[in-house]
Structure formats: structure tokens, C-alpha cells
Symmetry: C2
Subunit: 474 residues, 2 copies
């Protein structure tokens, strides 16, 4: 596996210092894998720089010696973006030591963090200052903000606050050449040339390494309320969402939809889960409202929304949380939905989006196509209906062979993605491309789009050393 020469390892090691250059197999191991076990890479060196200048020095040397570099944050990605290639020629650059909150300004409502700051620490720093940093996702305890930015992470607060892209004002980026771009601006309005910031955001570490970021903070809502409401179809779920977004506008901070099957698995396998409704229903929604002024206004808004929904018959049954712990319980069931599929055997997953109005058609068409291909397949669709984003997960038929089922991943992907594309949708709503979807992206996009991306890649990384073979084939 040792493809990087001893001499070169020594030169890289000299930049960060010996304790921060890992070369032992046991130390390197955690950097070679990803959560779903889809890839296992190889490397002879993991570097843990302690400053932007060290990152720059590493990239300068990498550029001179044409050494490919894979940036790593919390390594919680789902598409293999942080895993070095199998050949062992890549070195890994981990941002984990660069985990500081550099500054908070509660008048400008901005927070400046290192690229390696853990998302939960950013949330906490905001909270300690009576502010909200709204990015929230399952892996927030270990995900790092540079990775969240590089993948333009989504999560559960996108409806009201947007994806990570919308939560960032400025960046500090080390370029593949080792130059530092200081774009750490705290400006809400700045029309001075091309939007470099948004080019690095979502580039999955293929154009440079995000070493610092200016993040937006928001006032903490004073009111928060959640309801769990049953609907008889995706169509009705969409009608309920439309009503909620009209009545609550930006106070509607979450609107999730869940198939009955997904909820049944959660009830069965998630500790402490209980059905808040008396009867079973085909679909469920979770409605989350946050108001600026008071708890009373959140309560009133939720009550009058559901009242109107019952009148208009766009809801079958519903319950409003009576306490913070009930709010937590409801969200916990939604957040563990993916996990709850595991005891049911193999699962084939999709992270897709379609225009919001196309969600019911997509779900019906995909259900029909998947159950035709695999009779008995159990569809555990759930997701962020307001974002048009469905985690279209399929559990194996009862009693089926797990390996045989999972082996059909590619085939089922093609079936589902064809329906997504027919609706003008996206094959990766929030997880990105990485290695997992790189070749598929090249197939489904018009050549001009891939060509424009290649031109940008070449303009920024002429040596092709920056996280190569991710997003685009080098």
C-alpha cells in the first residue's frame, strides 16, 4: 500500500510535526472507510495540520510533487467523498485539529469558525450567545463545518433557513496550489465579481480546502410547536403542506412526510417510540412551527392551522405536542427512521428530489416500478416534503436473501432515478456526488454541463491533485 516515498512522507511530516503525521496502519484505519461500508481506501499518510498556513504548506508541496490529497472533516459523508482511492497514492489531510470557533459577533449575527469545527460546537456557541445556527442533521456531533460546506449539507431546517450554502457569508480556502484565498467576509451584500464562495461550497473538496467560514446566526425563536398528523395519501400530504406554508410562511420550520411502513418499522425498532394516534394510517406528516415572539403565538398558529386543515379535510387525525419532551419524542422517531430499517434486513437507498408539486406522482410511479421489479419490497419513503426531498428507501421483502437483494442496488437505482429525472428531479438532493454517483452524473447530464465543470476543475486544479476522481473523473 505504501505508494508515497519515505522521503516525501518525511517532507510532509516536517510541516505538521511528527505527532500529527500518521503512518501506522492502526492509526490510519479510521480514515479508510465510510459509514455504509461501500468503499475501503488506502493511504500511507494522514496529516493533521494545526493551521491554515500548514494546510497551505502541505498543498504547496503536494502541488510540486503531484501528490493527490483527500481532505477529511468528520468523515460522515454518504458518497465516499472523503475516502482515499484504493491505489494508495492519495494522502489524507484531516482538518480535525482546526476545530476552533474564531469569533462571534451578535450584532452582525455572524460566527467565524475553523473548517474543522464540529457542527454541534458551532450550534452550542450560537446558543450560548442567545442565537441560533440552524443547520441540524443526524451526524451533527461529529460532522465538521468544512465538510458541511463542501457537501452543501441539508438537514431538517432547510425549509425555513435553506441549505448550508444559505448559511455562509464568507470562506477561507486553501487552493490546490497552496495559495490562500481569504474570502472571510461578513457581508450580507457584496456584488464584487464572480461568486467564488458558492463555487467552493458543494465542490466536495475537489477545488480547494475550506479552512475557515463566516456563518450566519439567527435570533432564537421564542415559540416552538410540533404536530404529528396523519394523511391518507401523498396528495393530501402535499395539500396540507401547501396550507401550512400559506398560513405559517417562514414560521413553518419543518414539514416531514413518512410512509406508514417507515413509521411501523420505527415503532417496532426504536426504543421508546410510541404511536401518538389511536389508529394506523397510510401516511404521516410532522409539522414544525417556530415563532419569533412567543410560545403562545406558536401554539395558536398550530391550533388554527390544524383547525382549518380538519375543516378543509386535508388531514385525518392529528396530535399537538404538549411539552418539550413530546416535541423531542416526535422528532426522535423521525430522526431514527433510517436506523429502524436495519433490523428488517437489506435496504436500497435513494436521496432524491423533485419539484414539490411532483412528489405524489413520483411516489406512486416509483412504488409501482419498484414493487414490479421486486414483489414484496417494502417501501420506507420519508423526507422533507417542503424541500421536494425524499429519502426513498426500500427494505427487502420478508424472508428474502439480504445479499441478493442489496446486489440489485444499481438496477433499482436506475429505475428510481429514471422516474426522478422524468420529473426534472435530482439524483442527489443533499448527500452529494462523491464517488458513488460520479459516473451516473456524467451519464444523465448534458455533455455541456459536465464540460463546464471539467473546465472549472482544470482552471483551479491544473495538476489534478485535489480529491481526484470525486464528483468528476480526472
Amino acid at each position: 500500500m505504501t505508494m508515497t516515498s519515505t522521503d516525501l512522507i518525511a517532507r510532509f511530516t516536517a510541516i505538521v510535526g511528527k505527532p500529527y503525521a500518521l503512518t501506522e496502519a492502526a492509526d490510519i484505519e479510521p480514515y479508510l472507510t465510510e459509514n455504509r461500508g461501500l468503499y475501503r481506501g488506502a493511504t500511507s499518510l494522514v496529516l493533521k495540520p494545526g493551521s491554515t498556513e500548514e494546510v497551505a504548506a502541505i498543498m504547496k508541496l503536494a502541488s510540486e510533487t503531484r501528490t493527490p490529497v483527500v481532505p477529511a472533516g468528520g468523515r460522515t459523508g454518504h458518497v465516499g467523498g472523503h475516502v482515499p482511492r484504493e491505489a494508495g497514492t492519495d494522502i489524507v489531510l484531516s482538518l480535525e485539529r482546526m476545530d476552533k470557533i474564531r469569533k462571534i459577533d451578535t450584532t452582525a449575527n455572524v460566527l467565524i469558525a475553523d473548517g474543522g469545527a464540529i457542527l454541534a460546537d458551532v450550534q452550542k456557541a450560537a446558543d450560548d450567545n442567545d442565537r441560533l445556527f440552524p443547520l441540524s442533521l443526524g451526524s451533527e456531533g461529529s460532522a465538521r463545518i468544512g465538510g458541511n460546506l463542501s457537501t452543501n449539507a441539508g438537514g431538517t431546517a432547510v425549509l425555513a433557513y435553506g441549505s448550508t450554502r444559505n448559511l455562509c457569508l464568507g470562506l477561507e480556502v486553501v487552493l490546490p496550489t497552496g495559495e490562500i484565498w481569504n474570502g472571510l467576509r461578513s457581508l450580507k451584500k457584496d456584488n464584487t465579481g464572480y461568486d467564488l464562495r458558492d463555487l467552493f461550497i458543494g465542490a466536495e473538496g475537489t477545488l480547494g480546502i475550506i479552512t475557515g467560514a463566516v456563518l450566519k446566526l439567527f435570533p432564537k425563536p421564542r415559540g416552538h410547536q410540533v404536530a404529528f398528523a396523519a394523511v391518507n395519501s401523498p396528495e393530501q400530504g402535499l395539500e396540507l403542506f401547501t396550507l401550512a406554508s400559506q398560513r405559517c410562511a417562514s414560521a413553518l420550520t419543518g414539514f416531514e412526510i413518512m410512509a406508514g411502513m417507515a413509521f411501523a418499522f420505527t415503532l417496532k425498532h426504536t426504543e421508546g417510540a410510541r404511536d401518538p394516534l389511536a389508529e394506523k394510517h397510510p401516511w404521516y406528516t410532522l409539522i414544525d412551527i417556530s415563532t419569533a415572539d412567543s410560545q403562545q403565538s406558536a401554539d395558536q398558529m398550530m391550533e388554527s392551522l390544524l383547525e382549518e386543515a380538519f375543516e378543509k379535510e386535508v388531514v385525518i387525525d392529528a396530535v399537538i405536542a404538549k411539552s418539550q419532551s413530546e416535541i423531542d419524542e416526535l422528532w426522535h422517531m423521525r430522526n431514527t427512521m433510517s436506523e429502524a430499517q436495519k433490523p428488517e434486513g437489506g435496504s436500497i437507498k435513494h436521496d432524491v428530489s423533485v419539484p414539490v408539486s411532483a412528489i405524489p406522482a413520483f411516489l406512486h410511479e416509483a412504488d409501482a416500478a419498484v414493487t414490479k421489479a421486486i414483489p414484496g419490497a417494502r417501501i420506507c419513503a420519508f423526507g422533507h416534503i417542503g424541500d421536494g426531498n425524499i429519502h426513498y428507501n426500500i427494505s427487502q421483502p420478508v424472508g428474502a436473501d439480504k445479499a441478493e437483494f442489496v446486489a440489485r442496488w444499481g438496477e433499482i437505482n436506475r429505475i428510481v432515478h429514471a422516474i426522478v429525472l422524468a420529473h426534472g428531479g435530482s439524483i442527489s438532493a443533499e448527500h452529494g456526488i462523491g464517488r458513488l454517483k460520479r459516473d451516473e452524473l456524467a451519464e444523465i447530464r448534458e455533455p455541456i454541463e459536465i464540460d463546464l465543470m471539467q473546465r472549472i476543475k482544470h482552471a483551479f486544479d491544473p495538476a489534478g491533485i485535489m480529491n481526484p476522481d470525486k464528483v468528476l473523473k480526472v
Copy 2:
């Protein structure tokens, strides 16, 4: 002036048809100027294509023949971006015939428009469908959406809804080579490769021509209230803003600050303007609240905000509008503030932003430096305090020579911009770079940033024919 050969003119004319290829001096005249009279260009041909395919054919021919092309929308820009160069070698491509609303989807809350659609028409189409398209600015009756996107226009609703960039989901762009990039996606979440959309947005027509766009619509607020409140300093104005944003969060849809001098000129020169307060004050603010649910909630929110502001002594005096016509009156005074400076003689203008927390310091430092340079200069600063964006306008001293005063534009710009930059600010918050600020941008930015922009420019427009010499020197 005729630098384009007769043969070439004939070939371009054949693409759009004779009625849509202007060659007569009188017909061409309106395309040679801009509102402030800073530039006067020359051209021998203005083309008015009727379709994306015609735009593509024009760019293909331009690319083959290396003919520079200047795209034009409503031609309301302030930085000379739409004016052909004086040499007369550029042709102008006007989007004015491509002004259709292509589609509205009120469930997905999106509207698809031609690049040449007039902003007011987009607003009206949204309104007719009980939706809001929040982009709003002085020139909305003639500005076209492709231009708004190309300049990432700001306006008065940025605080709650963001700049034009935040209002767009997808684009259709004709590239300098004549290829068409169809990125007309209606997706709220789509993490599939580099963010090409945001690269074209704000590129001022130097990377391609925006021929179509998917725009976001929002629920129409049911409640709307405006207050006019006096404060004794920018510091107090900022405190009032901070309080308002905490109490109202996303319901705070506007927060403007105005220097006493700016308001005095408005009272003097704007027809129908009247002072709603009993006494004169050094600074004024305009607070705009929109609520999703009801008029009552907007009224209550404004009342309790001002009550708390009086208690905390962050406001001197205030009045709440008692009717829609009073709301309109208050906004009209703010919107005509720039116009009201005209009768007072020459004016030197700045469109700058700083981090919100730096606004008071910027204003004090700039006032001191400007009045030191030009004793008696009358400072009419006003702007969007919540966006950190101040239109720092300076009227000539009483009795001064207008031409002599305006001749000091560059000198005063340098003084003010130096203070802006010291605060980490932007020399163009919303108007863009165009020709006006191109050379200054190259001076103030680190070379690596200009270099990255040049690399992108070259990757997209290798022949250098796309609105050349705007934003970047070719």
C-alpha cells in the same frame, strides 16, 4: 463608428430577421447610454432575438467571427455594464423581445420566465396567483429579470428574502460559444456538482447570457405594517434594528436608516412628502413588518416592538402607519430619496456595505473624512441597515460649483472606500462592478482572487467576446 463589416451585419441580421436588427443611428441611440451619463458607447448593430435558439445562433456566429457581444436587458444598471465600448467593435444583444412568463406552479411555488421578462411583470404574475415575488427596486417597471440576475440585484426586500441570487432555483444560459446550458431546474435541493447557477448570477453577462430563469415564489403575507421612527444616532439605529430583528425575526421585512439631511431634501423636493413627526431628528428609521397569518398580528408585533423600544430608550419618537396609503407614503419618501438630491446640485455616490455591527463606526469615520476633504459637503446617507448596505451619497456644499464638485468623484471614492475596506466592507454592495469599479476592484483585491476570476472567465469565454472589459479587463 462602423467597425463591424457589412457582410457580418448581414449574417447576424439573417438570424433575427430585418425588423429586429437595428443599424440606424436613431434606433441604436438608446443602447449607447446609461442613466447617470457616465459612459457613452458606440455600435453598428443592435440585435433583438426572439428565442433562446436565436441567441445561441448569434453567439455561435460571434464566436466564429470573434465579434464582441454586449447583452442588454432593461439597461437600468448603474455601473455601465450594458454599454458597448467606445471603439464601436461590440454588437449589442437585447433580450427585450424575450419577455414572457413561461410557466407558474403555485404548488412548487416557482415561476419560469424569459431572461427579458420585466421585473414588474414577474411581480404581477405572482400577485395574480396569490403569491409574492419579493424582489423590489426603484427601476422595477423597466428592469428585466436576466439583468437582475446578472447583477444579483438587491432592493428593499433583501432583509427577509435575500438578494436576487436567493430567489432563483435554475437558469437557462447561452454560453459565449453558442451552446445552451439548460439548468432550468425547479429544485429546492440539488447537490449534483459545481454550482454553475451562482456563477452566472452576478457575472454581469461576462460568462454567458441568461435567457431563462426559475424563480421562487412565496406566500403573500396577510399582515403588513410600517413605522417611521426617529433615533439620535447610527448607534441607536443599530440597537433598534437589533431589537427588531430579535422580536420579529423573519417577519422583519425591511429596516431602513436615513440621515436627517437626506430626509430634509425629501421633504423639500418630493411631491406630497410630509413629516409624520412633530420635531426634527438627526436620524430616522423605517421599520417594515410582514406577518403570514393576519393584519392583527402585524399590528400587535409593531406595537409591542415600539413599546419595548421606548422602554429601553432606543427610539426618540415614532409613528405607526394607520392605513395602506400611509404605508405607501412612508415608503415613497424613502424610495425617492436619491431623486430628491438632484435639485440640490451635484452628488457623489457610493453603494457600499460593511458588517452590520460596523455601520456606526463607518458613518462617523466617513462623515469626518468627507467633510474634512470638502467642508460644507452635505451627507445624505441612507440605506438598508439590516443588510449593512449604505448608499453613502454626498451633495455639494451650498453654492459650490457643480462640475468642480463632481470632478472630485474619484478622490472622494478613494477616501470613502478606504474606510469601507478597513471595516472589511464591499465597494459595491448591490450595483455590481461593470466598468465603473473594474479597475478599483483589481486594485483592492488580493491578486489570487482576480486570478481565480480570470481563470473562470478564460475557461468559459476563451475568445474573450462576452461583454468584454466589464468586471475584468480582458
